[in-house]
Symmetry: C2
Subunit: 327 residues, 2 copies
Amino acid sequence: MKLASLKNGSRDGRLVVVSRDLASAVDAAGIAPTMQFAIEHWAWVAPGLQALSESLNAGDVTSSFAFDPTQAMAPLPRTHQFVDASAFLNHGNIMERAFNLSIKRPEGVPILVQRQSDDFVGPRDDYPLLGDNENADFEGEYAVIVDDIPMGSSPEDCSQRIRLITLLNDVSMRAHLSRELQMGFGFIQAKPATAFAPVAVTPDELGDGWSHGRVALDMHVHRNGHRFGQPNGREMDWSFGELLAYLAYNRNLRAGTVLGSGTVSNIDASRVGSACLAEWRALETIEHGAARTPWLKAGEVLRFETFGASGDSVFGAIEHRFVEQRA
Amino acid sequence: MKLASLKNGSRDGRLVVVSRDLASAVDAAGIAPTMQFAIEHWAWVAPGLQALSESLNAGDVTSSFAFDPTQAMAPLPRTHQFVDASAFLNHGNIMERAFNLSIKRPEGVPILVQRQSDDFVGPRDDYPLLGDNENADFEGEYAVIVDDIPMGSSPEDCSQRIRLITLLNDVSMRAHLSRELQMGFGFIQAKPATAFAPVAVTPDELGDGWSHGRVALDMHVHRNGHRFGQPNGREMDWSFGELLAYLAYNRNLRAGTVLGSGTVSNIDASRVGSACLAEWRALETIEHGAARTPWLKAGEVLRFETFGASGDSVFGAIEHRFVEQRA
């Protein structure tokens, strides 16, 4: 099934079930008022939501209405934990090669970054940009939303607690990134609010596209209407379950935790393109000695979308414009 | 006024108003069911909570009951954003001097670390410890809980949005800290769940102890009943308002955001002691060439408490035991 949170003036929005083709939706308030409530009471509410989803897809719900992604908030408009991985080593390798960096990462240890989750951005909301000198960038990622995971859970157990999958744009301000990375304490000004796709879906909606705990589907990235890349999520170097188990080593993960994959990146990036400006600029630097593609400026529009085997959009599209905002 | 969240089986607990002397409490459900609700609707609920607090302190509330800190959760048992600063440069200076480290921090830029906020620990709850080789440590800190702060707010405006102040123990597993610091992406396994004092209080409860946006009060730290240190919060190198403004540079901070001060540390630490084992071990290393004080082991008990001008405990005490937990 596919779920979304629609704007209703509240911080958490109202939960709706969305049809597989993303054309229609139905209010889920009778089962769960918000996405957070649904995740926290999954065992109780999932059967009812699933039944509603099946009726909606069969055209049997008279109270359905057209699904308007401009009215969607992030599927979880806010939550209590967001961790972003950098689980495609290819991305890191390209960055290190281009800029002579060396991340001191012990063999096997994944990069995971604790992030803020108080103010996610909806799929069609304008994104505020302080100025062109912020070196604004995007990172197209897949993400999972999990149920409670007790401390010490195995990768297999963690994998069984993945309730929903979605797509996000990890918006990055590169003007601050190198400074913050060198300080060692993670990201603050380099990573403002994160934008999400209109819907989150249960793993079964991906069919064979959910494979080995990874989203083995192309992510189509467009910049101002032009194709920028379509890397596939299958080359993730850790499964989501493995990343969750690393995270749960000495702490509980509570329901609603969002884990991002890191920017989707493929070995043959020079052919399939990239989901991240910095990575593409790094490839240009390696090939030409300097980056040619500029950072984002106010007025630009990005689009991220993933299609399933049937050709349908799985998560709907993030399509957002960067707008200048002065303090 | 003083507020707490009592255990009731829910993830957010139930809000109570606690008397100034921490002896009694009264249910606040008629005004705000949870602390999160109170913070989100502060302008509406604060007058009612304040009136209830005044009646309670005057002994005029017949429905009051004894306040039992073992039944307290963290004041905000979970929230949507937790950022921990390291705003006492003295602490960093000691660490750098002892271990020949060099944090590449541009002049004036504060250290802020994005942290998880899904599973805070109550003031008297046992703390799970995977083993003695985790090099378990504590960091006694002051923290503020803020209302919504729009992107670009000034330090003064941010300061006006501080609703509550509390005390926390930023439990740290030093076996993982150096590795994670060198990777550059902040903390994951080095910083599991954070423990909080029983109550959070409005700034006026501190009297002159709330000074220049800092908690100018001694924090009394005890390890297994023995005094470990009592550093004063006044030496913070940035005010909470300044730290919040840095954080809000390019993003909104939403109601319930918790900002920690970093371990309280004083220039004359060798005299007043420390709120952090690693800092004390660093001082020993500087003086004796090696650390003498061992890391925490299972069975040990820590206590953190701050007293106001009247001698009353301001936030109540964190007093918790570390217990071995095997996966």
